[in-house]
Symmetry: C2
């Protein structure tokens, strides 16, 4: 056994989270793509069977009350809340991340312009705040949706590297949309510092947590984040395309003015009133009828977090990525790959991105050899480390297979 | 056996669609709430088990290609197409009805203002079209979302009874949002005539098919409808909160300018480009990652339509509602209930709405007696007749139990 294989064995033996792997359906592959689609939690198949056969098939319409379908968006939001450092009552689940980015960003611009003039949506509402800043290296959909939100609220959109945000903030800035962890490089951005800078400039901070929630502490309440969105199919293991979530800070809920005021966000949804009156609280972020099958699969999936401290998850995540970088340095000839992921723990999420020529083909061969990561154009191998089910022996094997594949 | 019970037996015996009931999981209750939540098709539980255990649990990320997850929205759209009279390539499935109403209505206003002035979204774009008409008795969410679409495009919103639309159309009308069948009364509106009137005024017609698709022929292509939306959990039996759909007429697809241009609608979604470029075709109506569990349950559910002609469904639907009205007239003392549903076949959907005092309590007692309809405030008993699984004996029994409950 090599030195690193022996070290992996030791690390696994002392890993207090190692037992959590049994909460997932896994096989012999090394699955390092949980940052794209989380593995199947063992609780899900049985729950889905009950939801389909009993709740839908037998109770049918009665399940909206009796099986708790109607309140699922806020109930499941409260299950996600502790994972992102939020007190209950501030998160609703539903719609896609893209749709939630739209809700959050339009609402943010409206909040920024609150006191202002003509009551319209335009930046010329008297507040003088008519610019949205967006992470220049964002996952594309955030940028596309931000452009639409800007267009529809009369704002201009300015892409800025996250580190340059403090210098780019002006009295014209209405809202800033940032990613907690960059989807490509795995860089962790300074959520507390950037949020404080946004607030100091009088603007509203919107964070996208897709690549951080479930892998590291977020601290939404603690750091005063205004609005946040995230998906649930990566580190939260909710299943393919499971619904996203929206966080609206409690103090801002009364000012949350949704661009998608569907009937589920009405104060009295079954009153069937022609006039819209927004519900109080996080429920105001709901839109239409929730997709119950996907939503209740997510609820079952979140059971894997029972008694799992997020700090322990973060510690293991850093240990995993540290060890991967160590194994890669040991096994892969120098100069063959270049890491895009920051060395500093404070700047690292739960993935490692390696740049190499022919990355698309390399990833195909890795997958054929039982090491599953993914490829992001033009030249990035992306490896996600889900602390709940990835172990250190997996990491050593992945680096070893990578070295063999590259040689 | 009473005369009507005997007639029911005869009608069931000669019903060529009677065998379709075996395609659903049903029990002894008379389920007349399929216009709210369709019953469970027998094909769904096994499919869901495969989707969860094999596609997600075993193939994991590979299923986006190998299990056809990525193309599900347009593939399932093409399954719905023949049910609403649309050629393939014009429907995508995803998001809620509310979200699709927003996409359709904003896109409609933009189409109406196409040639015009300043390139912005406002009604003052030079086209002079700055008004949206909406069905005054619409299901509330359509009205709420229409108000938001109006606000965000600089239009005014005017509620108008569908019959009054032709007289309300002016050169200022940008778009008209109408329901094919009224959710409360079951009234079927004149889709061909109203669409023609909207077009004659130079405006764009958007139809909500929630209460018609799957119960009667719609003829989207034939009647030149511009845009349409609908849910899939009523007569299409897709399951609780199953994803909605969006129809964009082929000739208008190049001009479909979505307010929710998520990465799934990009011409090259995996190119991860900072610049948005809309895909060609119906795919342009997609937004974020599709909710695969709900979506593939819907795909399995749509198998019940194999070899089922929509015209035969419509004929049975009218026979069912005719017979229900006949039984109610025979069993329920005159003056006890008042039907809100039109007598004329041309004006009737697939439900019967009866107004009566204490309707909420009456419905509770009906449900306790095994006849499941629903209550819509303030005083409406709503009975939906799904021709695929409701028979004439069910109808007779429902009227009989209703009479007993009311006496």
């Amino acid at each position: 056994m090599s030195e690193l294989a022996a070290k992996a064995k030791e690390l696994d033996a002392s890993d207090r989270l190692a037992g959590l792997r049994a909460r997932f359906v896994l096989d012999d592959a090394v699955y390092l793509d949980g940052n794209s689609l989380g593995a199947l939690p063992t609780a899900v198949p049985g729950r889905m069977e009950d939801v389909v056969r009993r709740q839908w098939g037998s109770l049918r319409i009665r399940s909206w009350d009796e099986s708790g379908w109607w309140t699922a968006p806020e109930r499941i939001g409260d299950l996600i809340a502790p994972l992102v450092g939020a007190a209950p009552g501030q998160i609703v689940v539903g719609d896609s991340t893209s749709v939630n980015v739209f809700k959050a960003l339009v609402a943010a611009v409206r909040m920024a312009g609150d006191g202002g003039g003509n009551g319209g949506d335009r930046g010329d509402d008297g507040s003088g705040r008519d610019e949205i800043l967006v992470d220049a290296t964002t996952f594309p959909t955030d940028g596309y949706i931000a452009a639409s939100a800007a267009r529809m609220t009369g704002c201009t959109l300015r892409p800025v590297a996250p580190a340059d945000v403090p210098g780019a903030l002006t009295g014209r800035t209405a809202a800033v949309l940032l990613n907690h962890v960059d989807y490509r490089t795995g860089r962790l951005h300074d959520l507390p510092g950037l949020t404080a800078a946004v607030h100091a400039a009088g603007a509203v901070a919107v964070w996208d947590l897709c690549h951080s929630a479930g892998a590291l502490p977020v601290g939404l309440d603690e750091h005063g984040v205004d609005l946040a969105v995230g998906c649930t199919y990566k580190y939260l293991n909710g299943g393919p395309g499971s619904p996203a979530y929206l966080y609206v800070r409690r103090e801002l809920q009364d000012r949350f003015d949704s661009p998608l005021p569907g009937w589920n966000s009405h104060a009295e949804p079954f009153g069937m009133r022609a006039e819209y009156q927004a519900a109080e609280g996080a429920v105001r972020g709901r839109v239409g009828t929730p997709d119950i099958l996907s939503m209740l699969a997510l609820e079952a999936a979140l059971e894997v977090w029972d008694d799992v401290p997020v700090d322990a998850v973060r510690a293991k995540s850093l240990a995993l990525t540290d060890f991967f970088l160590e194994c890669v340095a040991a096994y892969v000839p120098a100069g063959t790959v270049e890491s895009l992921t920051p060395e500093a723990h404070a700047e690292r999420g739960s993935q490692v991105a390696l740049r190499c020529p022919g990355a698309g083909d390399v990833m195909k061969r890795l997958i054929d050899s039982g090491v599953v990561g993914d490829f992001r154009p033009p030249d990035v191998l992306r490896f996600g480390f889900t602390p709940l089910y990835v172990g250190f022996a997996d990491v050593e094997r992945a680096a070893r297979v990578l070295a063999r594949t590259l040689s």
